[in-house]
Symmetry: C2
């Protein structure tokens, strides 16, 4: 049975023209028709060069040292704080050895200059990493004072998709922050304005390679709310809440952890390589809905990675029905045999839940 | 396992908005963007009212008694002749009792007025039914003398799909001719100009319901090539050629045949009802690529059903990869239990071929 799933992986990459493990690039934005036909409908990502955002005031103002801090000097914003830079990611369960939980950040409202100080001072060794990543349409909310520095929407995408963005978000972090593998029920236009974002991508057809499992939810909380630089502890949510999340960490911290990951999650580590792309300042990534993505970042000269993303409501159509069907089939993954290089030892069965 | 497949059937119909078992209708042709976004990308059929073809000379000329016979009086055309009106369909195997074969028509080149006489004189009881259905871009080939009576392509479809039609075909028959369940690797715009076409449709997600099996190919041949009204016999192709084809006849000729079909092909007869639509003179049907369709017809006042279809190259994308994955999973269908109304007794397994 696993043969059929492997053929699906290979054929979908082949048909999308992604066998080069690289995302198609365009110098100029596509027409709405070409965008819909060549990218949205087939589910094919696209990177568009910085020419697309050259007219944005943000393209020149935001990478500077102080423009945003001046413009937002008296604005309170939400900053997400974790010990490790991994918000919304798996972490060791605080009470059960060898178990993991799904850990959300400690969210604090501070004035914007303080948020930037916390982000620039992020240090996983000191147990504190800050990331402004509110994801609740925050560019048009908390950051409305500077929202006019970018286009209110992406005109060719809005025309193609027949709607305006559901949310526009601002992301400010540095290399300490990483976003773990997940998917969104949105068509996503992701624009980097300072630094670079590094994406690992898997098409929806490779769902099983994420080894999605159920994890209990937890949150980082400050030991004392009044401390300017909080000390964090991880608390399980009460009552228990279960979050299905990818078990895979594509960049394990140690050789031992890599060996454990590769042995536990062979569909990821022994399958086709994830598609990798880097989006540079000024560039736009179109990430089709339901694509799995893992995001890391490098700061620009101002010490920050700054990005804006536009979430458009996805179309729930036959592709979505197929995805749900695929997801309903369970591959029972067992550790690969040593003499089997492709490591695909699973069996496909209907999920029992 | 069969539960997952049934859920796929239900969810894809639900997401396509087809739970009413009726095809969406529009009074006017869609814009290219709306066509791509709302129909091609999700794979959703559409019927457009006769307003779309009111400017075609064919809309008024072709339904008349004699226009086409006059315009094509000295043109040779291909006419497909079978005893039963079922070309490219299953027929009893000429040498093996209880077995079936895939039977192609006897194709004869005659002048157009003779072709129309053969079509109008079709009589399954007399063992001769004629259908002009050459399907090799014949409107721009054999029928080029009248091809200017219709638009050379469908402008909003060509703009949406980014190409011109690969083939434009003319179909002339009457109620004696039926086209059995099949799918095409094309996006199809089907325009009726005289009479009505009756479509039974199943989305690609319902592949298993067609009970596709391998059949040996056969052709009807004339016992004497010189006879004006040929007597036909069915000959197996040599060397043997195998055609995978749907086993299902949705309209069995007798109660006994219906009982045999329902018992042999429960996924079709006990699953959700096929989507039914009638396309009337002047109307257009957009039939997305890979949709299964069964077509019957009623003649107009001129005694003929006349239609033109435009085949556009389909996009082989992630939907196609999903379809191939689905098709690779075999449901072992066994006759349903009498006390099981939904009759879905199969098991899903990987196909062994």
């Amino acid at each position: 049975m696993e043969r059929s799933v492997r053929e699906l992986w290979a054929e979908s990459r082949e048909l999308l023209g992604l066998h080069s493990e690289d995302v198609p690039r365009a110098d100029l934005p596509p027409t709405p028709l070409a965008f819909l036909r060549d990218h949205v409908s087939p589910g094919r990502p696209l990177i568009i060069s910085a020419a697309a955002t050259r007219h944005w005031p943000a393209a020149t103002l935001w990478p500077t040292e102080s423009y945003l801090s001046d413009a937002l000097c008296s604005t309170d914003v939400s900053v997400h704080i974790t010990p490790s830079g991994r918000a919304d990611a798996l972490a060791p369960h605080p009470r059960r050895p060898d178990a993991k939980c799904f850990a959300s950040a400690h969210v604090r409202r501070v004035d914007f200059p303080s948020a930037v100080r916390l982000i620039r001072g992020s240090d996983p060794d000191a147990g504190l990493v800050a990331y402004a990543q509110q994801q609740d349409d925050c560019l048009r909310g908390e950051y409305s004072a500077v929202s006019g520095d970018v286009d209110a929407h992406v005109p060719w995408a809005s025309e193609a998709l027949g709607c305006l963005p559901e949310a526009v978000n601002l992301w400010i972090g540095n290399s300490c922050s990483v976003t773990s593998f997940h998917k969104d029920h949105y068509d996503n236009i992701y624009v980097v304005l300072s630094g670079e974002k590094h994406f690992l991508l898997l098409p929806p057809t490779e769902h099983h390679r994420l080894h999605v499992r159920d994890y209990p939810a937890a949150s980082y909380v400050a030991e004392q709310e009044t401390e300017e630089v909080p000390r964090l502890k991880l608390e399980m949510e009460e009552p228990e809440r279960i979050v299905p999340w990818s078990s895979v960490d594509p960049y394990p911290a140690s050789p031992e952890e890599m060996a454990a990951q590769a042995s536990s999650f062979p569909l990821f580590f022994k399958g086709p390589r994830p598609i990798h792309c880097t989006v540079r300042a000024g560039e736009m990534l179109y990430l089709p809905s339901m694509w799995f993505h893992h995001v890391s970042q490098s700061p620009g000269p101002n010490g920050l990675t700054i990005a804006v993303n536009y979430w458009y409501d996805m179309q729930f159509d036959i592709k979505y029905a197929y995805f749900n069907f695929l997801r309903s089939l369970e591959i029972k993954d067992s550790p690969p045999l040593d003499n089997n290089d492709d490591g695909f030892e699973g069996e496909l069965d209907e999920k029992k839940d």
